[in-house]
């Protein structure tokens, strides 16, 4: 990053660092100042937030019922010992 203004192309690469709270105070200020006046980057940030929210609605692949039943049986056996 140069000392000057952040370009949109540079900003999109900082979005995760921004959302993770990894930017310095000065970097965060510059990031937020850009987003405040740039419709494109503001929309991009909105898209990333939507992407995260939608990923949160996806259900991850779960264990097979058979495996779960076997585990529960193993737990019962262990309890009896």
């Amino acid at each position: 990053m140069s000392d000057g203004d952040l370009t949109c192309e540079e900003l999109v690469e900082l979005v995760t660092k921004y959302l993770e709270g990894g930017l310095t105070d000065a970097e965060r200020e510059r990031f937020e100042e850009h987003v405040a006046v740039c419709a494109g980057c503001s929309a991009y940030l909105d898209q990333i937030r939507t992407t995260i929210a939608l990923a949160g609605r996806v259900t991850a692949d779960d264990l097979m019922e058979e495996t779960k039943a076997e585990l529960l049986a193993a737990f019962r056996d262990w309890k009896r010992e």
Partner: protein, 228 residues
């Protein structure tokens, strides 16, 4: 990266187990089946995903997770609560998965990461979406992305849209897929992911960045493509 490095020192005086953990551990020791089943439901998908990074197939990953739970059952009596139960469980599953993967002759995906599965410095957004060098506003959007939060809610959360997200996540390289699954699908904190996968703060973030960027692209193709 071979040795396990706890990023939050569990022996530090400030470490306190998460609320409710002591009760869960006690219930497991007493043989409470409901508590055990709930834990298997809660952590099963994430354990499967972590195991899948190291072993060759879904079936082997399932075996690894099963073995890990047997390890949890057998070891709960000795669990000292110096790390969180979650950290302890995921350390067990990743150790078993690594051993199994080595036996299968698979290389550990992390050995080559400089941020994610060998896709180098691929940008988050296609370079042609920005004005090129020489232009007065070089590096600015050629045309602004659309604002998805203004789309009707029912369109965003429609099964088809979620299917696009799911498909895009499934198409990611293993490490990226695991990080985004733990962070955004399962809702883990970055510290939890770093502990479970033994990643530095920077690596975790770079991998997550690439993963989210690819899922966003897939969504953009789908959501914006249809409108035109």
């Amino acid at each position: 990266m071979g040795t396990y490095r706890l990023l939050v020192d569990p022996t530090a005086a400030t470490y306190a187990p998460p609320p409710g953990q002591a009760e869960i551990v006690e219930a497991l020791r007493l043989g409470d089946e409901r508590v055990f089943a709930a834990l298997v439901d809660e952590y099963g998908p994430a354990m499967l995903r972590v195991a899948r990074m190291y072993v060759s197939s879904r079936a082997v990953a399932e075996e690894v997770v099963q073995e890990a739970w047997l390890g949890v059952i057998g070891g709960i009596g000795r669990f000292e609560g110096r790390a969180s139960l979650k950290t302890w469980i995921f350390r067990i599953v990743s150790n078993i998965a690594k051993t199994r993967g080595e036996r299968e002759g698979r290389s550990i995906p992390f050995s080559s990461i400089s941020g994610g599965d060998g896709d180098g410095g691929e940008p988050a957004v296609e370079p042609d979406r920005f004005l090129g060098a020489g232009h007065r506003s070089a590096g600015h959007w050629t045309s602004a992305p659309s604002r998805w939060s203004e789309l009707p809610e029912e369109r965003l959360v429609a099964g088809e849209t979620l299917g696009i997200v799911e498909g895009a996540i499934a198409a990611l390289p293993e490490v990226q897929r695991t990080v985004i699954t733990l962070r955004d699908v399962e809702g883990w904190s970055s510290d939890e992911v770093r502990n479970a996968l033994d990643l530095s703060e920077t690596n975790q973030r770079v991998i997550l960045h690439r993963a989210r960027a690819k899922v966003r692209r897939a969504l953009e193709t789908y959501l914006d493509g249809e409108r035109t």
